[in-house]
């Protein structure tokens, strides 16, 4: 069996895909992630089962090959594989496709540090600039964690369930199943994984302490992840998946005649998943704001790269977020987030067509009415 392989690099016996990588980063056991993605593994399991015979079959080969004669094969009879619109993607295992998507995406992702800020770039242009939150802001934000602590008994189950793959936490909103929507699951998992790659860079360079690393009274209900606090990886992934699936809903109005309600639910779930990390005691609300901004861009880039015609580019507005005690000391609510303009002056960046991503999007769309 196979799957997207992210951080792990090597596909083990289970081949547990990028989700395993995410879990590894979070320092959480990978079992949760495996559960989330079982459906895909089940499908891919067919590949594994139908793999080449070895051992005893070799004697068969040597015993019967003489009946095919000894003449060389005529090269002229070999037809080329169909590679139009990257159709060869269908030939590869989903793990291999995963490597291709990731490389395809990351070739455009870079960053620059200046004056305590980090500018994340897409094809050399800024996509998101993040300021470093001051200690006074972090301390002030602790009140939200203290307040949300009350919800741990209510939200404990969700919080534990959201430590791995997030696709199942959205699938029930859109009626997705792994058997019907294998390529859309692949796309969701890809976006989640890309978010992990992207968010680790500002987490690494801004190096913001976790809430429990500045206040002993937070006592998170799960192990504090071993990477920086700002931005929130969960908020990044959650908003990215909501953005991606909102685009799917928009693309399939016949399938989703109640599209507006579905999109509301998707964004609401993005809020809840992000807020659950504040309930758990591992994120400030500003982490969620920053993560949501990055996630919206990551998913937007994927959708634009997949849907923009060949040799064309989509133009996106660059974003900026630098919360201060005076202007940014607020809780995170998706309604506020979606209604707040974070466009960075008049800066823009362009997203060009991507063959592999376009192939995956097209295949995923075929799974709907």
């Amino acid at each position: 069996m196979s799957g997207f392989n992210g951080i792990n690099g090597i596909n083990g016996i289970n081949g547990i895909n990028g989700i395993n990588g995410i879990n590894g980063i979070n320092g959480i056991n990978g079992i949760n992630g495996i559960n989330g993605i079982n459906g895909i593994n089940g499908i891919n399991g067919i590949n594994g089962i139908s793999g080449y015979p070895v051992g005893e079959s070799q004697t068969t080969g040597f015993g019967i090959r003489h009946v095919a004669g000894h003449a060389p094969i005529d090269p002229a009879t070999i037809t080329a594989e169909d590679t139009k619109d990257e159709a060869q993607m269908r030939l590869w295992s989903d793990q291999v496709r995963g490597w291709i998507y990731i490389s395809e995406f990351l070739k455009n992702y870079s960053w620059a540090l200046a004056g305590g800020e980090i500018t994340l770039r897409w094809a050399t242009k800024p996509l998101l600039t993040l300021g470093n939150p001051a200690p006074e802001l972090l301390v002030s934000q602790l009140r939200f964690l203290t307040s949300y602590m009350d919800l741990r008994p209510d939200r404990g189950g969700e919080i534990l369930g959201q430590m791995g793959a997030l696709a199942p936490h959205y699938a029930f909103i859109l009626g997705l199943t792994p058997s019907r929507n294998p390529k859309l699951y692949e796309l969701i998992d890809l976006v989640q994984l890309l978010c992990t790659h992207c968010v680790m860079i500002p987490k690494h360079y801004l190096t913001v302490r976790r809430p429990d690393q500045i206040d002993g009274r937070i006592m998170p209900m799960i192990q504090t992840p071993s990477h920086g606090s700002f931005p929130s990886g969960h908020a990044t992934q959650a908003m990215a998946i909501a953005t991606l699936l909102a685009a799917v809903v928009d693309a399939k109005p016949d399938h989703y005649p109640d599209g507006e309600a579905r999109k509301q639910l998707l964004y609401k779930q993005a809020e809840r998943i992000a807020a659950n990390r504040t309930v758990a005691g591992v994120h400030y609300p500003i982490d969620s704001w920053a993560g949501a901004m990055l996630g919206r861009e990551v998913a937007g880039i994927v959708v634009d790269a997949a849907t923009t015609p060949k040799n064309r580019s989509a133009v996106r507005a660059s974003q900026a977020y630098a919360p201060t005690l005076a202007t940014g000391d607020v809780d995170y609510f998706v309604d506020d987030f979606l209604n707040t303009d974070h466009v960075d002056a008049a800066k823009t960046y362009k997203v060009a067509h991507s063959g592999p991503l376009a192939w995956l999007w097209t295949e995923a769309m075929k799974e709907f009415l």
Binding site: R143, L151, F333
Partner: protein, 655 residues
């Protein structure tokens, strides 16, 4: 602190919280860092209607204006007035300041003048309650509010008001919002609209605007209304969670009602959850009832009708009190309800309480063996016990701390022998002042002793956990009723409360067959009967117990009055339908899902819902009791299971 204080005007709870117990409870919480207002109730036997202008209290160099919230105009001269003390932060107010301020209120010379709560014969009693956030206050007093007439109301049929006082009122719930005429969110920051003296009010029109602006996203509606978003050390509303007490009780009361049943609701401040005893909300509840009556009058005017029949549910409970109907909140509610009955049928439904098996009630006679009182370790809130004597007798009591071994009788830590006037004795353990024992003559003329003990888990001045003992000396003139106040968290937020209890070896907890013993053991000091809602012994309230739906009698927890108490359970309501369906289904905090909750809190509003169907048949002025007879004329009641009258009352309502 002085070794022995002599506070004439502070009730023992307030004296402890502001005095020797200041290191605990409210003042130990982070919330105390924010400015607060003190709430309370004043009593004047002659009755008085205060001017809108505040009454300045002066004492020890401080002047504090005393304000009244919205008062119903139908009671010309109320004897009981809720108040808030403005412009001073509660944490700056020392016990002695409070005493001086209240003494100034007593002094007629100070109270006379331009108005406020004076002039006249002076105030006889001031009871301070829970502090509320100062940022709830609207400067300049409460303005008027107009309610509109909903065309959905059928002009040919009676218009009924369903009133509710609770915490976590889901005013945007799809099952309720169209009939939610007004809701007062007592604990929310003032928003400048100024129609209530503290907190915020939302009318039906305003709720409709919020719902139109934010669609089906009720989270955003509550946030935009200020009901959610508990920053700045403000306690979270129960609405943040999926299940909320107020959502559940209001659902039981009003969900089944038609368009002519209109809701007026009061959401008590979430911030008072630091108080785990059930004490201290008197002013908030009394203000709430005044508000409901006032808004009902405005609703009647909007529809061009006379005073409207009304059912108000109050699913609150505390364990203490004299159980004689003479508690200040009971007397105050009775006064208001009786006055409104002159205009329109007005019922007040309340629960019997849930403490039947909690071992918090005992009858102790002079010379009885000392009764063990177990204070659990790791209790982070103060512990209170009340002892009440019959009219015409005076108290005497001996309190022993924990002994050197777990079972043994420990040293005497406080003793009260001859008492002729209010007196407080400090309770000392190992040289530490860990509590106060106060004897006082209550407003009914009966004496009570209140024992206030520090938490057993505290950074300073903790009371030792273990087996304490209470005894009445043989010289004491009469037996007393002992009641331990509740010590449990309710609502949201961690309080660290743990319940103390009496450990009486004569009280059998299980039957020979191993079942929970639901009958009292003859000869035991601890009795289940008598564990009853101490706020529900007034004359006007209709009291509901809890029944199991498969005919096997009362819910285990359902409280029962004892013979001689002023009231008893009138009827019971099925709370659990089957062994597997424990608790009653009602509304969650958001539209759609439903939740189960147990408790007599869930029974009382169902009684209210049944009564609402028929209360318009009653005539104004005719009801001297609590409308049980009106309910009996409906088809809702079946005879209660025989032999369990103290807990089930005469009737049972099935859903």
């Amino acid at each position: 602190m002085a070794a022995e204080t002599d506070i004439q005007n502070l009730d023992p709870y307030t004296a402890w919280r502001f005095g020797a117990g200041r290191a605990h409870d409210f003042f130990a919480s982070a919330r105390a860092a924010r400015p607060h207002l003190l709430t309370g109730v004043v009593e004047r036997p002659d009755g008085h209607r205060p001017d809108p202008a505040p009454l300045p209290l002066t004492g020890r160099g401080k002047t504090v204006p005393l304000h009244a919230p919205t008062l119903w105009s139908g009671l010309a001269a109320p004897r009981f007035l809720p108040f808030m003390m403005e412009a001073v932060t509660a944490q700056d107010l020392a016990e002695d300041d409070l005493e001086a301020l209240f003494e100034s209120a007593h002094a007629a010379g100070v109270v006379t003048g331009s108005g406020g709560f004076g002039p006249g014969s002076g105030l006889t009693r001031i009871m301070a309650g829970a502090p509320i956030r100062r940022d709830t206050a609207t400067a300049g007093g409460a303005g008027a509010v107009a309610l509109s007439a909903d065309p959905a109301v059928d002009a040919k049929r009676p218009l009924i008001v369903l009133g509710i006082i609770d915490d976590g009122i889901p005013f945007a719930h799809a099952a309720l919002a169209d009939r939610m005429e007004a809701v007062w969110l007592q604990g929310m920051k003032a928003d400048g609209s100024g129609s209530v003296r503290f907190g915020r009010e939302l009318t039906r029109d305003r709720i409709a605007q919020l719902r139109a602006a934010h669609g089906a996203d009720e989270d955003t509606v509550y946030r935009a209304a200020g009901a959610l978003g508990g920053d700045d050390l403000r306690a979270q509303s129960p609405l943040i969670g999926d299940a909320a007490h107020g959502a559940h009780t209001l659902g039981a009361l009003a969900e089944g009602g038609d368009a002519n049943m209109r809701i007026i609701a009061v959401d008590l401040p979430p911030d008072v959850t630091w108080d785990t005893s059930g004490h201290g909300k008197e002013a908030l509840i009394l203000s709430a009832l005044h508000y409901i009556f006032d808004r009902a009058e405005r609703l009647a005017a909007a529809h061009g009708r006379a005073a409207l029949p009304m059912v108000v549910n109050l699913s609150y409970n505390f364990a203490g009190g004299g159980h004689d109907g003479e508690g200040i909140i009971e007397a105050a509610l009775d006064e208001l309800v009786a006055a409104r009955r002159a205009h329109a049928p007005t019922a007040l439904t309340m629960p019997a309480g849930n403490g039947y098996l909690d071992r918090g009630h005992a009858a102790l006679a002079p010379g009885d063996p000392p009764l063990a009182w177990v204070l659990p370790p790791d209790d982070q809130t103060s512990t209170y016990l009340e002892a009440w004597w019959p009219e015409g007798t005076t108290p005497a009591l001996t309190l022993h701390g924990p002994g050197p071994d777990y079972g043994g009788l420990g040293p005497i830590v406080a003793e009260l022998t001859t008492v002729t006037a209010r007196r407080t004795v400090p309770i000392r353990c190992g040289g530490r002042h860990v509590g106060d024992l106060t004897a006082e003559e209550t407003r009914s003329g009966r004496w009570r002793v209140v024992i206030a003990l520090a938490p057993t888990e505290a950074t300073t001045g903790a009371a030792p956990a273990g087996r304490w003992h209470v005894a009445l000396p043989a010289s004491c003139g009469a037996a007393a009723r002992l009641r331990i106040q509740r010590d449990l968290s309710y609502g949201r937020g961690f309080t660290g409360a743990r319940q103390s209890y009496f450990d009486d070896p004569r009280n059998l907890l299980f039957t020979r067959g191993g079942a929970v013993a639901e009958k009292d053991t003859p000869g035991a000091a601890v009795t289940r009967e008598g564990a009853f809602n101490g706020m529900a012994t007034g004359q006007t309230s209709l009291i509901s117990g809890g029944a199991k739906g498969w005919g096997s009698g009362a819910e285990l927890y359902a409280g029962a009055a004892e013979p001689g108490d002023a009231t008893r359970t009138d009827l019971s309501v099925e709370v659990s339908h089957t062994l597997a369906e424990v608790g009653r289904l009602s509304l969650a905090s958001r539209s759609g899902p439903r939740h189960r909750m147990t408790g007599t809190s869930m029974a009382a509003p169902q009684t209210g819902a049944a009564l609402a169907e028929t209360i318009s048949d009653a005539q104004a002025g005719e009801e001297a009791s609590n409308y049980l007879a009106t309910l009996e004329r409906t088809g809702h009641l079946a005879p209660a299971k025989a032999g369990e009258a103290p807990r089930l009352g005469r009737w049972t309502i099935a859903e």
